[in-house]
Symmetry: D2
Subunit: 455 residues, 4 copies
């Protein structure tokens, strides 16, 4: 779970990269970075922290260059330190390269062992260094040829933006797990994980980068290549981007995220026989589903949980005995709305179940008479190997319990999930998604290893 951007222009580009990353901050809050190329020299800055904290006016002024790439990185426990910040920047055969990556390889450890055996020295702890080293090993001047070889080695999810001294390259893995779109503004070419990064700088979205595609911008012209001429792309776009991760204003692989979320709520409501007074969304992720549910059921939406706009910032953790503060500081129940009412509580997904449990308790304490929890996606039963930060299977509540068991744990009066069928129906397209987290049907097999490297 990261966000990437690349811009090719004919004037200084660091400020546009900054705004694009700022708009994709939801895709990663741990670290961020920008690299630009100027006269065959790559300048970069990267650090732990938010875009607005890491980059100041002075930094952008110093990052001169007409071409650049940027990255925001999601915080995952353990592997969080400076050396993993992106873009990675290096030189090989007297040519400079910079690379930013969204996704997760399934054979990174295997490849890393292979390279170490050959005498390579790894300085960080991420997939991305593996990609960079393989690319470097085969890079003799023609980036497309070396990428084709690299793509033969690496398996799993990767959307990449790569910057050479005079070319900007975008790559999407053959399944197209992670999003990557192409936009234009005037003479500028833009690659980004989401529409908002293109919108924000006034650009227009052109199309998705295709699974297995390599797009090169050089001398102001764009050329498209495919990983293999014989290769038939089997698109497996991550459905969880649509359910939770992407912003409402994204359109990924022709599915509009907001419409999808509304429709999920509608489908869920269609056959729901429960009697209730109001529909209450879990903010912010449950809003679209709740509106859909309200549309289809005719029940009014009401804001029964107030979100603290300042949460997201770190705050001092409550002690165990203050544990209820932890939930309330994010979401405070609105007693005047929920007291004595029967609620349809709508959220987009349940992973561990702990947050849902705390919210249900908090609403009951505030006087809600009945709580019917409705989830606009199926139960998450399997871990993701492609870059979504789901926990180990043993911590997924739906891998250990059936719906009744989850209901008991959460403490709601009834619980319904959207079924996989309904979810696919909401996309308007039947066959092209990775939904392994729901059904265990992994499009690319995971190579065994103890620990996943990320992003």
């Amino acid at each position: 779970m990261c966000g990437i951007v690349g811009i090719y222009s004919n004037k200084d580009i660091s400020k546009e990269l900054y705004y694009s990353l700022y708009s994709m901050q939801h895709r990663g809050q741990e670290s961020c970075g920008i690299a630009v190329v100027d006269n065959e020299k790559i300048n970069y800055k990267k650090d732990m922290g938010l875009v607005s904290d890491v980059f100041k006016e002075k930094d952008l002024a110093e990052l001169k260059g007409n071409m650049g790439i940027g990255h925001v990185r999601y915080s995952t426990a353990g592997g969080s330190y400076m050396a993993n910040c992106q873009p990675l920047v290096g030189s090989c055969r007297k040519r400079k390269l910079a690379l930013a990556h969204n996704g997760n390889l399934v054979n990174a450890n295997y490849l890393r062992d292979m390279l170490e055996e050959d005498g390579y020295m790894f300085q960080a702890n991420s997939d991305t260094e593996v990609i960079l080293y393989i690319l470097a090993r085969y890079y003799k001047g023609d980036i497309v040829e070396s990428l084709k070889i690299t793509m033969d080695y690496i398996k799993g999810a990767y959307s990449l933006v790569i910057m050479g001294e005079d070319e900007l390259v975008a790559v999407r893995d053959p399944q197209g797990f992670r999003p990557l779109i192409l936009g234009k503004k005037d003479e500028k070419f833009i690659f980004a994980s989401e529409d908002c990064a293109i919108d924000i700088i006034g650009g227009e979205v052109i199309r998705d980068v295709e699974p297995g595609e390599i797009i090169v911008i050089k001398n102001g012209e764009m050329k498209s290549y495919f990983y293999s001429e014989n290769y038939k792309t089997v698109k497996r776009s991550c459905i969880f981007e649509h359910i939770y991760f992407a912003r409402n204003d994204a359109t990924i692989d022709n599915v509009n995220v907001y419409n999808f979320r509304i429709k999920c709520g509608e489908i869920l409501a269609k056959d729901d026989k429960v009697k209730a007074d109001i529909v209450v969304p879990v903010p912010d992720s449950g809003w679209a589903g709740a509106i859909g549910y309200s549309n289809a059921s005719g029940l009014p939406v009401s804001e029964g949980l107030v979100k603290n706009r300042y949460v997201g910032r770190t705050f001092i953790k409550p002690t165990q005995e203050e544990r209820e503060i932890g939930v309330k500081i994010k979401l405070n129940p609105l007693s005047s709305v929920v007291k004595g009412k029967s609620l349809i509580l709508v959220d987009d997904s349940v992973v561990r179940g702990t947050t849902s449990k705390a919210i249900v308790k908090s609403l009951k304490d505030a006087g809600a008479s009945e709580i019917h929890l409705r989830i606009t996606s199926p139960p998450v039963k399997y871990s993701c190997y492609y870059g979504i930060d789901t926990p180990n299977r043993s911590k997924l509540i739906a891998s250990q319990n059936d719906v009744e068991g989850i209901k008991e744990y959460i403490g709601c009066d009834s619980l319904e999930f959207l079924e996989i069928e309904g979810m696919l129906e909401a996309t308007g397209q039947k066959s092209k998604f990775c939904k392994a987290c729901f059904d265990g049907d992994y499009p690319v097999k995971k190579i065994d290893r103890e620990e996943l490297l990320s992003c």
Copy 2:
């Protein structure tokens, strides 16, 4: 526009003060502070910045004491510097005092001149130092007596929490402009500007502090006094708290803020003849009104504007030629929702009109066919002297233009405001509000002076 809190307990209280301030961060982002009393010694920390930035675990551990007060301060141009951070802490007649203030005196400059003439030296630039100095001048051990005298001098809006060496005091001005409520949890007494600050620490709201009331907590007991025995309170609770400033989960002077906002939307919709496809809220402040409007009109609510969750944090200002970025970074239009649609765009208020104008342009650019702007409050025609940070009258668009003129400026297809009658109807209570910003009927006359001091 500030937030205050005071807690009287029998154990360390700094962490509770921290959470309370955190929950009221929306009332002021410029600076914050906490003062606690321990063995007749007042310890405090205050600084520019957000609660989560200023206070770290170590700071709270050092702020030992069973009684304390806290403050968050809103950023107003010009007077923003360290010396104005609150609480103010001082000593007088060998007794320590700390004070935090929400509101705005109308005769602060007059009183300041008077005190300066008597040889007092002012070290900051705020109303609050004026209150502190008058209180000190008449404080000979009995805080209630000195407060009664002080309240004879000071005119305007003030909700105060004051801490002596062994007592916690809450005061609300005779008109009750700014909110102040009393809560309890176990042995603890809590005063705060809004319900959320009491909810967050598990307390229960007991009642509003009454206009003109002085409540003293001492030796574990609460006593109530009134500013003047003969004085008949004429409550003039600020209606703008209900319209915009307070959180949805607040109840101020018996009016529930969320219900009020819903009702404003409903009333506005009742006689609206316009034809439209969807209701689009301006997030976050327009949501409740939009839901009300949708309830009454039957038109569905749709999220036509996506808010960047990370805005609020400072970011590098776009240059003039990038000016559209400034709006889009906060609110990005969702083309898939608005394209080809006729929208009811709902916001809570219009002050300068510049933001509305930019939003309307941005929605039109995204393909909206018609935009009917609906404001769930009347036109703001007059400046506030009581603590809401409205600009000089000349910059209020409604003081210079009629509705038609405003519509022309903003560029929407039609424009309606809620009328004063409707707004009062929504409160369910006719007579007790200050609505001077709409009708110029100021409950307390302003003393002439060039510049208002704030908070």
Copy 3:
């Protein structure tokens, strides 16, 4: 122990104030501040920390004004917090005032009680606020008249620079405890605690401000007043400034500090019969005395202790069991110089004796055969009430022990102090010094109180 500076000019002055404070950093490392006046408005910045940390290019650019004052404050245990940073800035009778102070009143608590009784509110914990409030109380436009009254109230040590809206004022107490000198460069007038602050900006030292003198610079002209026409100044310049506190390049009340220190070493050597191989200074304060001792004795000076140039910066404190690191990190013995040698170890003074003890141990461990400690000032037996940060009498080793006892404690082979006679001889002037720390002859009696406020 603080440093003050004031500059009157006809162009922006903040950068000169910065350099002057930078050169006087040795007079105070806890906090610093600069206040400038621009069109009757006082701008200022002050904060905890060193001059180079608190002020950045941007800060100086914002501190516009042709007249200004500055302050560096010494760290004293306890009273160290933001509210005590100087200059203090305030307004009184619609006139702005800023004030910076070096010294220590002996009746501050008495005056503070008096003012509190009259209804004044103190916001900090320092002498300086007392001076400011008394000045404000009597300030009706004529700064000289109000200063004369103020000087009747305040007793003890005070050198002040005061800035009104159109005048810069320097004041020195009637005994002249703390230094204050007048300099000029072109049209500029400069007041400062030490010569280096004037040298650094290319100015020329004109003369000392006289004890009891009030100098006013206004409309480009300088006028001198005296506290009282009848008053006969009895100069009591602090001898400890010469011994330890001032830089070698200072000249205070006509005594050149470096020459004085050399002469102290020479006088001490004159009758010394001890046999030794080399003279070793305790850096940096013992160098001048050691050179003097070497001159008179004919023994060569050798650097037996190497000082870490980076000490002064905070570092992580060694634990108790690592306690020897604490000394060595500052001063490492040079075995090749001291091994098997008999040393004359020269330091400027002994206060608690703990540092001397540690140095002696460290030199013995490094192989010194004999250590003869020679102190170029008399034993410190009494606390200072006038601004030198000597500890409580009970912690002064010389107040509890005779020379033999001190020698035993420190562990050196012999110990000699310069006698008071010799010290006065070294000044070249017999009668005008405060030497209370050596002989208890306090020029101004201390008003009883538990705790001294400082600076």
Copy 4:
């Protein structure tokens, strides 16, 4: 110009590493880092800034491990950024490695090109990554074997500390350009660039690491190897360490630095016929030479220049028109000492000549009648390729001018340098130094390339 340290112990070692680096701060102020090994995992922290700024108590507590290495890096223009901070940490063939380096390869660019051609990707811009990659390439478990091969490749100056998962290794290049010494304390083994890093933690210096030697500490035992059995070491210890760079308390390759500096002054004085009143050192580097000069000439040393103890910290640069401030803020002349006097001004070396010129002007302005500049080393005529940050030859004043020309430029009345003969005499050992900066006799030829990588 860097400082390195390595400690092998049986308990946590981060605090000792911290103190050792702190004591060697003079060897590099740009960046610093510590890496420790704990259960086959390497933890590290490194950042731009001083030791006292980068490491806080909390950091050291988190750096758990019984073995560790540390580094301080000197600031050189251009290549100053995060990626160059040391130690470098990486993994190769499933083994972790960390490495810290003092020195400068002469064939780094050549080797880098070779490795890039083989498909290696460089992520930083330093010699050290070259060493690490070659080491990794040949590292198959036996660190000594891979080091022997590595040392066949790399040419120039390198003192290294290397940490594997269970062994600590020290390496010194076959010429021994940069210092590296071995110390012990109890069970601890310590390697460091200078004695002070061993003294500070209570250790004892055992001996120099020999040129070409590889020392391995493993399982609590020390083993020594040599780069080549046939190799005959030709020690070429950098004489500039003795002249300027090392602290007075260092002993490098059996030459005591302080005694050497004293002797240089004495030899310089021996045949000097000039008449003068006093000897004035340029602080701090000129003190030892001045004392030696004084010893031999009989002229007294006097402190004619006062050094600001706080310089070294960054401060706001004076503008061109304030250029004299730049010198004075560091060194203020003491008029009372120099006025009317003829001075022997002693400094350790002249590189560009600009500082000497400014000091001479400043002393003349302060009234010195004659200034005879005496330099306790020969004229620097050649650039250093082995790690001393001398500028390009064209900026060395002595490569462009004879002594008369330098004297003219500096503006002194006479100028003498110590001759190479005298300098060698002062060492007490004739043949084992690199003195290429004085005579151009480079022990290892430089490989041509445009730009030197450093440290």
